[in-house]
Symmetry: C2
Subunit: 148 residues, 2 copies
DNA sequence: TTGATAGTCTACTAAAACTATAGAATTTAT
DNA sequence: ATAAATTCTATAGTTTTAGTAGACTATCAA
């Protein structure tokens, strides 16, 4: 039930992008190197991850001097579930309970497959959390923890 | 967030072992070949899995003619969480929220790490389901689905 | 217009994990 | 003895993961 480094790094980067205040404009723009240094992520690896996130429409970027990455939408509109799915694929433990990548499993009757029932519950539990937690929610929780 | 084939096969085998009624005695004894045929699991692979489960204390076995595998405890005492942990390792998406295989992550302060908070919730959601679902519960749900 | 900065894109590689397969050894019942 | 089972260790093929490399393109400022 593990999250890959790819997924972890991507989430950390998005959280930082949402959480860094920008006095100069509407959104914070961070460079790969900045994020990689702050979060101790290999720069070239992070580069790939951010590019993937960009191509999926979650990030925008600006090339050249003073450029970098910034969120394509407000933090309150980006869910962790979306990020994880892009980087790590379906949330479901087994394909036959996946909403986005369903595949039939080998069981004779899906309706009465015990494993399928339980794993369906697990999928729903994971999806309920990740699809209902936005980057804004994360920022808020961090803030609350800091001030306590 | 995927369950490996190993984990899936192991769970299916345990569910079958719990669900097969045995008119001759207190517990059903099934052979590797029987399970592998019924569930379409490669026999040699299943062999390893059952052996692992046996060494972990969840199964007992009998060698020789008329032998096979049977549950070491009543189905109501065996949780899916236990089985998954034996075959697939910790339930936690990242190590820093694992109860049984904790490792510190790179974040500067664990108390205020947003990713850690959310993944802690995910871990708890998964563990709540799998640690509170026994083989007996699964059998009951299957029975209910069959008769409806 | 040149140089520095920063993202884009594709390919590649090493290591680990996953999914098995092989085969010899051991135990048990008849 | 023989057949039926599990036991145990090694190994092999494939896929995934994690990371590296390098050439290319866009932007800005002097």
């Amino acid at each position: 039930m593990r999250l890959s480094k790819r997924g972890e790094y991507g989430l950390r980067a998005m959280i930082i992008l949402a959480d860094t205040p920008n006095p100069e404009g509407p959104y914070p723009v961070l460079q790969i190197r900045e994020i990689s240094t702050r979060e101790k992520i290999p720069a070239k690896f992070l580069e790939q991850i951010l590019l993937t996130l960009k191509n999926a429409g979650l990030l925008h970027s600006k090339m050249g001097v003073g450029g970098g990455y910034y969120l394509a939408k407000p933090p309150s509109k980006i869910t962790l579930g979306h990020i994880v799915r892009i980087l790590d694929g379906p949330l479901a433990p087994i394909r036959c309970v996946s909403q986005i990548a369903y595949e039939p499993c080998g069981c004779p009757d899906a309706k009465t497959c015990g494993l399928r029932m339980v794993m369906g519950d697990v999928r729903n539990a994971i999806a309920t959390i990740l699809d209902n937690t936005t980057l804004a929610d994360v920022a808020q929780r961090v803030e609350a923890a800091r001030s306590s």
